[in-house]
């Protein structure tokens, strides 16, 4: 029982990452009709915004300390981050410690700008082109983006820890009456889950309750008619691309402490996020979120050792297996509309 | 007993009764029109005939055989060809290639993988397609991309493709929708010619009364999913119920 609760918790956490990435992906597909293979790269860039912010914050003043030597026997260089220099060690260290949450604020404008540039500079020329061309050009873009990141940051993962306050885990089991240590969960992952829930809620509220959102939703349903009403739908769609990029980027920023960011983390998520979108139903926002959580939970269950012993290798293939079963039984995904992307 | 017998066909979509108890009999070698206001269930009925939809109740017999539960290509193989409201042709292929496909489509749906045999059969097919293009008066367009043609030509090609299969029943779904007057008249002439020369049964769904009264021998009026009356064109014109339900508005609008 406790094992199940634990894996559900796990699944929700995994699922919230899947849901966030898939949400942006399906937003772009639903509004612009573009299959964006560079979406994973946006997630990755988000994580690297966190890396960059913490690097900028820790830009240091370097002094030589003659009493110590480095590995070659030269005088060691002692570096003190300027923030510690300016604000004193306590506050300075505190700012450094909170680099990831600080990055969120910085990441939003950066990601929106990147998204808008991507849409205006490249994607908009591909609205009328076949999906295969869209896939190829965005895949090319994804490769370029990740190689640029690799050029500047290397291939090795870069540790980007969460604030010290969130290190450690929360004994969930003890709270609901199980033995201590049966259901524990890291604080930061709980934060991630809550954060995702908020972002998802904000995106839905935005689409549901603002005029902007209403126009976009109308445009998703029937682009031409909305265009006939004299509304500049293209401009709004550009903004949607920015929004989708921001969602992916935020997912990336918050994910940085969970797994050290590396340049190929976007590609690692790409196939998975497409599967989430398709299982949820192309162009369905609710479907993407639902499928994200569903696949997250199933993946967690499949990784239980009792399950692996029963069906060896199930943890390797569960996502794909579920995708196949759903596509064969519910052809348009969980919440998909008819006739989307069937040719 | 007609070549097409529709008995008690009903179809619901959620809360909407699209068709309720439709009975219809199309006599062999006749031209039968089905008319009705928007939402009367004309297209639903047509889709039930060709296997795109499966009716909830009733039966559809073509030449004494039930078509229900068969897929569109199987129903086509029984001898029913369909012309769509917007011409469904192979846009990326040339006109000639378009015409070759129905010529090639043997009734059993088999295909030829043998290289030598396929070359030989390709020649026969090409000859037949060529013949058909001449008959449809499109030989000069044979190498054009089908999608580059005018709507009238697309319609002509589509009808030609249906005829190349030598169907026993030709279903037309608003064949002149969205056409200019001249194209409409051409299409009417073409259909008349087909009827004269080939003696096939034609069932036509149409909005344009001009087309209906130029072609049809019998007319069924559908309203709210049920047939209102079925009669000859002359009688329909004067039928009070029809005027009330449909023609009044339609003629006024026209």
């Amino acid at each position: 029982m406790d094992a199940f609760i634990l894996q559900i918790l796990n699944g929700l956490d995994k699922g919230s990452a899947y849901a966030l990435i898939a949400l942006g992906l399906t937003l772009i597909f639903g509004t612009l009709g573009v299959v964006n293979f560079a979406h994973g790269a946006l997630f990755m860039i988000g994580a690297f915004v966190a890396v960059t912010v913490s690097r900028i914050l820790s830009i240091s003043m370097v002094v030589e300390d003659p009493t110590k030597t480095d590995f070659l026997g030269n005088p060691a260089k002692i570096s003190t981050p300027y923030v510690e220099e300016w604000f004193g060690p306590t506050i300075g260290a505190g700012i450094l410690d909170w680099a990831v949450p600080i990055s969120i604020i910085i990441a939003i404008p950066i990601m929106i700008v990147i998204g808008v540039i991507m849409e205006r500079g490249l994607i908009q020329h591909f609205y009328k082109r076949p999906h295969a061309d869209q896939i190829l050009v965005t895949f090319g873009l994804a490769i370029v983006l990740q190689e640029v990141i690799k050029y500047f940051y290397g291939a090795n993962p870069i540790p980007t820890p969460a604030p010290a306050a969130f290190i450690g885990s929360f004994d969930f089991g003890a709270m609901i009456g199980f033995d201590p240590n049966t259901i524990i969960y890291p604080y930061w992952r709980l934060v991630y889950f809550a954060f995702s829930a908020i972002i998802i809620a904000v995106v839905f509220a935005f689409l549901q309750f603002t005029t902007f959102g209403m126009v976009v939703r109308a445009g998703m349903a029937d682009r031409e008619t909305v265009g006939l009403l004299g509304i500049n739908i293209d401009k709004r769609f550009t903004m949607m691309f920015g929004l989708a990029a921001a969602v992916a980027g935020l997912a990336g920023v918050m994910y940085a402490p969970i797994n050290s960011p590396n340049y190929h983390m976007g590609m690692d998520f790409l196939v998975l996020s497409f599967i989430v979108v398709v299982v949820g139903g192309m162009g369905s926002l609710g479907g993407a979120v639902l499928a994200g959580f569903l696949l997250g939970i199933l993946e967690s269950f499949a990784s239980m050792s009792a399950v692996i012993e029963l069906i060896p290798g199930i943890n390797q293939v569960i996502i794909y297996l579920v995708a196949i079963i759903i596509l064969l039984t519910r052809p348009r995904g969980l919440l998909g509309r008819k006739g989307v992307m069937e040719d | 007993m007609g070549i097409l017998e529709v008995k008690g066909v009903g179809k619901r979509f959620g809360g909407l009764q699209a068709l309720g108890d439709v009975n219809l009999s199309v006599a062999e070698r006749s031209v039968h029109a089905i008319i009705g206001p928007n939402g009367a269930g004309k297209s639903t009925l047509l889709n039930c005939l060709v296997g795109k939809l499966i009716p909830d109740t009733g039966s559809v017999l073509f030449d004494g055989q039930s078509v229900l539960g068969r897929s569109p290509h199987e129903i086509n193989q029984m001898g029913i060809s369909r012309v769509f409201q917007t011409p469904e042709i192979f846009g990326d292929l040339t006109v000639m290639e378009n015409m070759m496909i129905p010529c090639f489509a043997k009734r059993d749906g088999a295909f030829e993988m043998n290289a030598i045999a396929s070359v030989l059969s390709q020649r026969d097919i090409a000859a037949k397609a060529e013949e058909m293009l001449v008959e449809m008066n499109m030989a000069d367009k044979r190498d054009m991309h089908a999608s580059a043609m005018s709507r009238g030509d697309k319609r002509r090609l589509e009808i030609g493709m249906c005829l190349a299969q030598e169907p026993r029943l030709l279903l037309l779904d608003e064949p002149t929708a969205g056409m200019a007057r001249a194209d409409t008249n051409n299409t009417i002439d073409l259909l008349k010619q087909i009827q004269d020369e080939r003696h096939i049964t034609i069932a036509i769904i149409e909005h344009d009364m001009h087309v209906v009264f130029s072609l049809a021998e019998r007319i069924t009026v559908l309203a709210q999913g049920t047939p209102l009356v079925e009669d000859t064109p002359d009688n329909i014109k004067g039928h009070p119920k029809v005027r009330e339900a449909y023609l009044g508005e339609s003629t006024a609008a026209a």
């Binding site: 999906h131 190829l136 895949f139 290798g313 794909y320 | 897929s71 042709i89 846009g91 009734r107 295909f111």
Partner: protein, 403 residues
């Protein structure tokens, strides 16, 4: 000739000449020149060009004709490779049974996957094929290690039975793949001054198969069957209402292209008897998609060009390192040399992915029809010049059938 139109015969002849003359054509630079780095006329790469050409031709029969975008085609190549190696392990080192086994196993596997995946179309089909291929990869890498060799790949060993051959050669080594005794690794070199041309048995074996495979693909493209496949791509509704069930045709195309992939897999192990699971990974499937689109999907020769392009990048550009760059630009003054080298450096060697990504984007943006369209445009420029000269300016908008 051979039941082909003149135009198709010309294309076949071009491919034949390219394939048979590759050892010369790909080695234009003398070995002593710094440009020798760009020579691609060594057996392994030539074999790869041809093998991936076959793979891409097969993929194009499915994607180019029917429009069904399979994102899991590498699985058939991988399965074919495993079947081939197992034939080497169990039966003997003759390549014919290995290649036949590769094609048969890949064919059977594609019947299974195709039958299920073709129940859906569009992106749903793509995701289904992707899912099957990823499952094959994951299982082959892990739990199926006893059959597939897992991480290290399936390879030959001295303990293999090889019932029709020998387990161990007299000099104590593992025997090498051969065609009735003619070893695939056999080379003959022609040295003309500073040029060295290598003629490799394995390469010519592959090249002959490529020509046959290409001929078959022309025949398929031009056959009524090919017409039917193109009709499927254009309008399935009309096809249905013409009494044709698209499914057997699509499945046939899927299986044919799966068998092409199997053939490619079989040839890969015939040239190099090791089958690794990575060749089933989704990026490998993506690679063949890129080859087809980059070259020109739906055209005959495009996929071969696309395959050559990508494999050239992978094998030649990735091998350029900083030292070589310095050699090239050694003629520049020192400071300038360093600047030029540091500007070029991110795009070569370990940066070859970056160059590849940029080129993908450029091709798709400026040449929507792929490399073939690039060729056509160049051709048109020449033709226009000619026309101007002869004064024949009839701008006929006739259709260019895909080639």
């Amino acid at each position: 000739m051979l039941g082909l139109t003149r135009k198709d015969t010309t294309i076949l002849l071009i491919v034949t000449v390219l394939a048979l003359g590759a050892p010369f054509l790909l080695n234009p630079f003398p070995i002593s020149s710094p440009l020798a780095q760009f020579n691609a006329g060594y057996p392994d790469l030539m074999q790869r060009f041809v093998i991936f050409g076959i793979f891409a031709i097969g993929f194009n029969i499915l994607f180019g004709l029917t429009g069904y975008l399979s994102f899991g085609h590498a699985a058939f190549l991988g399965v074919g490779s495993y079947a081939g190696v197992w034939m080497f392990k169990l039966l003997g080192m003759n390549v014919i049974p290995a290649i036949l086994a590769s094609m048969i196993v890949a064919g059977l596997f594609s019947v299974l996957i195709g039958y299920i995946s073709l129940r859906r179309s569009g992106i749903y089909f793509s995701i289904l094929t992707l899912a099957f291929a990823q499952m094959s990869f994951s299982l082959a890498y892990s739990v199926l290690t006893p059959i597939t060799g897992g991480e290290t790949g399936l390879q030959l060993s001295l303990n293999d039975p090889r019932i029709l051959g020998q387990s161990v050669t007299p000099d104590g080594n593992i025997p090498v793949p051969s065609l009735f005794g003619l070893e695939m690794g056999e080379n003959t070199r022609l040295v003309i001054s500073n040029w060295v041309f290598t003629f490799n048995v394995g390469y010519y074996f592959c090249a002959v198969i490529l020509i046959l495979a290409f001929y078959l693909s022309i025949r398929i493209f031009r056959s009524p069957f090919g017409l039917m496949l193109r009709a499927i791509k254009t309008n399935q509704t009309r096809l249905n209402y013409t009494g044709l069930n698209p499914k057997p045709y699509t499945l046939a195309a899927f299986v044919i292209s799966g068998m092409y992939a199997g053939l490619a897999g079989g040839l890969m192990v015939a040239m190099d008897p090791l089958a690794g699971a990575e060749r089933m990974f989704w990026t490998a499937s993506g690679e063949v998609v890129l080859m087809a689109i980059l070259g020109g999907a739906g055209t005959l020769i495009g996929p071969i060009l696309g395959a050559g392009f990508i494999k050239y990048m992978e094998n030649i550009v990735s091998k350029i390192n900083e030292t070589i760059l310095h050699n090239w630009f050694a003629f520049l003054p020192d400071g300038l040399e360093d600047i030029v080298v540091s500007m070029v450096y991110p795009f070569i060697g370990k940066g070859w992915h970056l160059t590849l990504g940029i080129l993908f984007m450029l091709v798709v943006i400026f040449l929507p029809g792929g490399l073939v369209e690039g060729g056509q445009r160049i051709g048109r420029i020449f033709r226009r010049k000619k026309k101007k000269e002869t004064g024949d300016g009839s701008g006929a908008t006739t259709v260019n059938p895909a080639e």
